[in-house]
Symmetry: C2
Subunit: 353 residues, 2 copies
DNA sequence: TTGTATGCGTTATCAA
DNA sequence: TTGATAACGCATACAA
């Protein structure tokens, strides 16, 4: 016998189970289960009866039990390097919104830019029986090993933004190359002839591609590549300051800078202002990410928007496709979002150069 | 018989269960369970044996099963109005970090500033058998009803930042009143004598308390309260612009503004600059939240830091206390964090006024 | 169309 | 110190 006495019409709180409904109605649990899950073989009358009582008693399915039984929960695991700045919070926002619409909840994990954390996160999420894992790689992730376990278990895996290229994976990315190309071309079209580039870690797809786009644009203008105009760093604000100093110290300084990140271009702007160098007249600037502050600085900073929300939504959508394509063994898809260039004062001038 | 054949020394992927370990070692599941959960009644020898094999076979406990059995998972539910700007992402960052350290994962929910969503979030989290719920209220939450179910179920509930006052709840808040008091006093000490206030929705504790702090400071300087100097709004940037216009149109405009939010003070700054009014010489400004952009504007904006990270950590810590105080029926605690005023150019002047 | 019985992987109760 | 066994709540194969 059960420890708590079975409720009849009695108002008792605590979760109502399918067994409770079955007992109350004098039917089997199977019937209740079928009614609730909209199964095909069930009489419309019984179904209504069950649903009505379920509503009346405020029945709430125990997700854990269902998950245990099915080996899959209604949880989606998300791994991001961190939750700060504009990009990741916005993507997570998009993911959460889209996931909830599809009936999933979202578990958040941070890798703290560390592959060891990332590995642990994977374990955690698999133990939680998540229905899928969405991940943007930590900066020091360089191989795919810890993700193989996920695939072996048949858990849908979607990468976004920071991915390992070359591998056949499902991913949602921004067309970083195109964004960088457009931005650099824009600077050239404004009259710049020596455009420098603040580049990020080149093993990350996003920074590699942004550099490529920069190079593409130079080539399209038949301009030579000058390696001393490319400064590699983590692109913090401080490194932007330092990079700009370095560029100004060149015998032939640039007349424009395209940075693969906004913080560094902000640093550059601050340095230039402190030295009385005019932006954009003397040196034009453009960044990447469309951070909130780009519309606040003076002059306002030209930058590339990464479609954070859309990326989150697209990632969930791709996950859903994987869930539905269950049968298809090697469903593979890459979604590429188009960046949007926001042209602001820092790169606009009246074409005197 | 099982569908998949029991592994012996065979290398087979797929999760290893306690039963697998038991079979392999020729002991009972109970023993394995005890060894793994560090139970007291188990021989050190057997324990080691079990742990060793567990490590070797990379045993991973199925959290769902444990959760189902115990009625509680290792998941913490977090409900925030949205995941954007500086505050909520940072708090979530702090929560996630602290929670993971304690062995919990975090499920994120957004209420989208809507109490109906908030109700749904509660249901979702309860169905997921979360071990606790941490919540910062939506702006239109005005009663406590939907949280009673949580308490009835004995699920620890901690509010942070935006709370319902008066009720006996567990909460972590910033001392908003003190922060506002310090900031306003600072403006007064700088020589301001007519300080205006951009106030937020007064049914929210945070904005009510910030207004109180403002009033406290005026009183401490024996200054009269002039209601036309208090502008109520949602404190967006646009409303900051509009509010500033309204203040300038007064027969006797203010010489300082303290805003309960940074966006609105930014709006004010932009308007003042566009009209050639000097900040801080003509009008001094100070905001609240210490948003990233406050250190970027010209002049840089004085603002109050809300200790986002600490708030997240403190909230998790309070949750953990509740878990441990399981026995104590009416454990109640409020944690109050001290704000930190960052004084920047927008409020500093050489004391000529 | 409905019901019976079993198992998902743990933990807890009781007995040995 | 150990083990056998029964739940937790749900979903499904199979029988009726």
């Amino acid at each position: 016998m059960n420890s708590r006495n079975k409720k009849t019409a009695e108002v008792s709180d605590g979760p109502v189970s399918m067994a409770d409904l079955a007992k109350e109605l004098g039917v089997s649990m199977t019937t209740v289960s079928r009614a609730l899950s909209d199964h095909y073989s069930i009489g419309p009358a019984t179904k209504q009866k069950v649903l009505k009582l379920a509503k009346k008693l405020n029945y709430q399915p125990n997700q854990m039990a269902a998950a245990l039984r099915k080996g899959k929960s209604k949880l989606i695991g998300v791994i991001v390097p961190y939750i700060e700045g504009r990009f990741f919070p916005s993507v997570v926002h998009g993911i959460e919104t889209a996931a909830r619409k599809a009936g999933f909840s979202v578990i958040i994990c941070q890798s703290n830019e560390d592959v060891a954390h990332e590995r642990k996160n994977i374990e955690t999420l698999l133990n939680a029986q998540v229905a899928g894992i969405l991940v943007s790689l930590s900066r020091n992730t360089r191989d795919f090993k810890h993700f193989e376990k996920v695939q072996k278990r048949g858990v849908p895996l979607v990468f976004f933004d920071r991915i390992l290229e070359g591998d056949n994976v499902n991913a949602v990315v921004l067309n970083d190359r195109e964004g960088a190309y457009q931005t650099t071309r824009h600077l050239l079209e404004q009259g710049c002839r020596r455009v420098a580039h603040f580049a990020g870690l080149q093993h990350l797809n996003i920074y590699k591609n942004r550099r490529q786009g920069y190079l593409d644009a130079l080539r399209s203008f038949d301009l030579p590549l000058d390696e001393e105009l490319i400064i590699y760093s983590d692109m913090t604000l401080e490194q932007g300051v330092a990079g700009m100093k370095q560029l100004l110290a060149l015998p032939n300084p640039p007349d424009g800078v395209f940075a693969a990140g906004d913080s560094s271009i902000l640093g550059a702007l601050q340095l230039l202002k402190s030295r009385g160098i005019r932006v954009p007249q003397d040196i034009a600037l453009a960044g990447f990410s469309n951070e909130g502050f780009t519309a606040i600085t003076e002059p306002m900073l030209t930058s590339v928007d990464q479609r954070c929300e859309e990326m989150g939504q697209a990632t969930v959508r791709l996950f859903m496709e994987l869930v539905e394509a269950k049968g298809t063994p090697f469903y593979q898809r890459q979604v590429v979002l188009q960046p949007q260039l926001f042209i602001r004062e820092s790169s606009l001038h009246s074409g005197k150069r």
